[in-house]
Amino acid sequence: MSDNHATPRPTRQPFCSVYAPLLPLLHSGELAEQEQASVEAHLADCAWCQNQLTTFDIVDAALRWHYASEPKETASAASLGSGSHPGMRPDLTLEDIMKADQKQASTTSAQQLPSPARHQPARMTKIAALGTIAAVLLITILAAVLFAQRGAPSHSAGPRPTSTPANPTATATPTGPTVLFQNSLASPPDSSWPNDPSIGCFFAGGSFHAKQIMNCGIPASVSYSEPTGMYENADITVQVKQIGGPATGSYGIGLGNTVQWDRFDIESTGKWSFLDCQGANCTAIVSPTASAAIRTGLGATNTLEVRVVSNHFDFFVNGTKVGQADDINYLNRSGQFALDGSDTIEVVFNNLKIATAS
């Protein structure tokens, strides 16, 4: 509030524009040794940059003060004023986690993670309720379509994997391919699709872009529409084109969840691969393998298709089968779907079609 500083306003010097962009990183230890030395040398004689640096330090300190770990005794801390945060709860125990795990496993029939067992605020309850209503409506519509086309759904002949959530009403498998979702991706199919340039997943120029991001998770409106609730009987086709970044980057279709997922990818160099990923760490089930079916180079459009039945995958590029693989871990993963790309490239997707594989 004080406006009574006698200190004259520092003036910007000619070289300030060179050093100013480096100031935010000076105290983060992220500058190269040479950069650090030259910035410090400049700072010694520049009040304007010293002023700038101080402002970064003030905000950093405030950030640390307010967002460092909460006190362990959260219940008592809740009455301490600025150090407390409304909604803070006691620390979780392993027992809480195991209970939440059991509850999620027993109530997840459509692979949508339910609200935690112990904590379920009203907001999350509303979201869960809306999601349930949407899922019921979707299943009803799908059932109606199936009945209209085939009279009644047949049942899967083979036993379901034991890790699959038990839901007898959700294991019906149509006797022939059924289109579950089809969209040109020229614009967002609905408001739940990710569409934000700042996160790298967005619609522009008549395509869905994945820019410098590992994957763009596709929303529940698509992820959970497959009748079994998991992508264990699915045929996914999408057109993809790399428009930026090195040709060694890979891109394609991801299946699994945000933690554990499988990727069927191609590179613009003409290779395809199948990866088993734990977050960002991927190991190759099928190492990058050249295929003449893949159109190469930036700007080349390829149509990818992955057919998955149980834990067996068949891979196609431009209508040609390029390979197949099995991943036993796949059955432990919840059924979500993503369009993915390496973090150094930009790819665009069009004409997504999801059908049953059988």
Binding site: Q52, K72, D101, R118, I199
Partner: protein, 192 residues
């Protein structure tokens, strides 16, 4: 139905220790992203359920190798993903230019915030963070509060190290500008 836990006693004990050590920093990190302690607690619980499932099948990084840094990266990565999804659903994303924000024109020399202003400062900071995109906010919180390097942030966010460093610098500019603009707008020039 999920099968009973198959994790070994050693992994179970290690997991309990990880839970004890990391849940509070993780919760404060998520709170910085979603703005709500309530939602942060929900997200953190879900993150640890994911982690527990991974530990039960002894998969990296919960395979008993004691790689604490890898575990921290994994937890923050999953927390970020979940928090970003909540952020999107909350419709609080802001569409902003990717250009670095021009330097703020400062009229005065800033002084440290008095302790009694902490509550107002916390609210200012919360609003300023909400104005950043999730990837900017996450870079800041990971670096400034949690002490991750740009290289580690790159690994957590699945981006390149150069991109992580750029985002960090940009985020610091944006947060500072938003913070002091908000401060001015409120007339709380005690900070100036």
């Amino acid at each position: 139905m999920r099968e009973p836990s198959t994790a070994s006693p050693a992994i179970t004990a290690e997991f309990a220790s990880i839970l004890e050590r990391t849940q509070r920093p993780l919760r404060s990190f998520v709170r910085g992203l979603v703005g709500s302690a309530e939602q942060a607690s929900d997200i953190v619980q879900d993150v640890f359920v994911d982690a527990w499932r991974t530990a039960q099948i002894s998969k990296a990084p919960f395979d008993g190798n004691g790689d604490e840094l890898a575990i921290r990266r994994w937890l923050f990565h999953v927390a970020y993903r979940r928090a970003a999804a909540v952020w999107r659903h909350n419709h609080v994303l802001h569409f902003e230019s990717l250009e670095v924000t021009p330097a703020l024109q400062l009229d005065r020399f800033y002084e440290p915030v008095p302790f009694e202003d902490r509550i107002a400062e916390g609210e200012l900071l919360r609003k300023a963070l909400a104005e950043l995109g999730p990837q900017d906010a996450v870079c800041l919180l990971l670096n400034v509060v949690q002490g991750f390097t740009a290289m580690e942030i790159a690994s957590i966010l699945d981006i390149g190290p150069v991109a992580a460093k750029k985002r960090l610098a940009r985020a610091k500019h944006r947060l500072r500008d938003a913070y002091f603009e908000e401060s001015r707008a409120r007339g709380t020039e005690a900070r100036l």
